[in-house]
Amino acid sequence: MWKRFRSNIGAMVGVAILLAVILIAVCAPLIYPHGPWQMVQRPFLPPMSVDGLPLGTDTLGRNVAAQLAYGAQVSLLVGLVSTIVALLIGVPLGAVAGFYGNWVDEGAMRFTEFFQTIPNFALAIVLVAIFEPTLASITLAIAIVSWPPVARLVRAEVMSVRKREFVDAATLAGLSRPKILITQVLPNTVSPIIVMASLMVATAILLESSLSFLGLGDPNAMSWGYMIGAARTVIRTSWWLSFFPGIAIVLTVLALNLIGEGLNDALNPHLSRKGRA
């Protein structure tokens, strides 16, 4: 499996980009010890015009490169944590629904369907607007709009695994229902969950940046979406202020998608062979 993943060029490019982004995020306080908010020069300096400011300065004379580095922290943190929270909601719900069936399934799926019908970005906006934008509320809002697909996936996987004969064998061995679900069924649904999780981190980063772009970012955290939103009105004169953070988002999200596809090919070789045949 690992070999298949490593031989996937796209996935390895994704891993390289992601490692670079993580490195920048971790090292941000070392490279730019004064933080992203400090004024360092005249505002609106174009890239490469002054030494030490390769990406120029923003509307308030702050270092764009420093902002990008600190923005990486926020993007990765929100992406990762919100995905974990979404998994914590979606996996148990989907597993219980798929395994126990009947009215449990009916109830859980109506609940999931309800959340899936609501336009997810609009719900995220409403939640963050009402609960005041903080990193916590943003993360939670993203988790709340992202869990339904997880629940559906886990439910479908559990339902298909549940029908396999080794589950019957475990029942005949006298194992209790919860034990069968946890020790026999769930371990067999891990690969698709991993694939989905990697794609969810990407989507969460996009969502976070979109919220920040609309002015719903945590005012105490520098984020890529906020940078683009703040530079929106000066796009005619200072295009680079919105251009670079955008590139950062594209690269990070692309990297995660590439990794997700690579994982999918490696973990479900049967499907991927179909895809290439």
Binding site: Q116, T117, P119, V126, L206, L214, W239
Partner: protein
């Protein structure tokens, strides 16, 4: 089961869902930090004691919780979405004024993305493994990773600011006084950039989905049967693979409708497109919660309606559904 009873069932379910969203809205209003009356009034009304008192009375904020809930939900059932003190107009009126622009934008974007997405997906699947397929899938992956609003900004920068080809702002040329055909053409010109940028992301989604679905269906047994009959490659793709492959794409398109509306908020914000998305953005800054929640409810209603339409389309395309096997 006939299509009619199916539609009736779906409509009943849709009404229930909307009701649930109305209840959710009520709880959200009350969950917002601060006095609910002040929250309702938004920033505009915060200073006016008398108005706050009026509000308290009107929404029964001094009455038990369930009475408040009943009043709120009852109002929504009568299409009363509350009052925007910021804009000094009923929310339903504000939304109604802005809805056509949003419908025009989202439906155009949806049409473009679905048609182009499926066409490109089919083309890509037919050339699987070749350079043109790789180029298309890479491009799709790139669009898939690009934030909508950023793409919109870059489109404004390139096509409006630098090249000057298309207007990058608004719904029509303000003050030009166009009528009839000239006005329609003017609006169309303004529509191109927002619709394309909103559509590109979904085009990427539908293309990837169509491609994957085409490849999967082409492995199925009946395709081999079709080959054994002596059908040509294009005939097999057209008559056998495409129809079967498109069903999951229809389902996905229904599920994606919500995202399309969400995307409209961003696109309308960038292009100053006077739709409900832009309305929501403006209300965010003003903390006009009534309007925000109103837009939220209406966008959910749009999505539900859209889901019902895709459901009906699905029933027409697939003979297996609705037949009592």
């Amino acid at each position: 089961m006939s299509i009619l009873t199916a539609i009736l069932g779906r409509l009943a379910k849709a009404a229930l869902t909307l009701l649930a969203i109305a209840v959710l809205n009520f709880f959200l209003l009350h969950a917002a930090p601060g006095d609910p009356a002040v929250v309702l009034a938004g920033e505009a009304g915060a200073a006016d004691e008398q108005m706050i008192e009026q509000l308290r009375e009107r929404f029964g904020l001094d009455q038990p919780f369930y009475v408040q809930l009943g009043k709120y939900v009852g109002g929504i059932v009568q299409l009363d979405l509350g009052y925007s003190f910021r804009q000094d107009a009923p929310v339903s009126q504000l939304i109604l004024d802005r809805l056509p622009a949003t419908l025009l934008l989202t439906l155009t974007a949806f049409g473009i993305s679905l048609v182009c997405g499926i066409a490109l997906g089919v083309a890509s699947a037919a050339r699987v493994g070749k350079a043109s397929d790789s180029a298309l899938t890479t491009l799709a992956l790139l669009f898939y990773a690009t934030p909508l609003y950023w793409l919109a900004l870059m489109a404004v920068l390139v096509f409006s600011v630098w090249l000057g080809w298309l207007p990058g702002f608004g719904y029509e040329t303000v003050g030009a006084g166009y009528t009839g055909i000239t006005r329609a053409l003017d609006i169309l010109q303004h529509l191109i950039l927002p619709a394309l940028t909103l559509g590109l992301f979904f085009m990427a989604v539908y293309m990837r989905m169509t491609r994957a679905s085409m490849l999967e269906v082409s492995q199925l047994d009946f395709v081999k049967t079709a080959k054994a009959k002596g059908l040509s490659g294009p005939a097999i793709r057209r008559r056998h693979i495409l129809r079967n492959a498109i069903l999951p794409v229809v389902t996905l398109a229904g599920l994606q409708a919500g995202q399309l509306v969400g995307g409209a908020v961003l696109t309308e914000t960038v292009f100053a497109w006077p739709g409900i998305g832009r309305l929501m953005f403006e209300s965010l800054a003003a903390r006009d919660y009534n309007t925000i929640l109103g837009v939220f409810l209406v966008s959910a209603a749009m999505v539900i309606l859209f889901n019902i339409v895709t459901d009906i389309v699905y029933r027409i395309v697939d003979p297996r559904i609705g037949a009592t096997a």
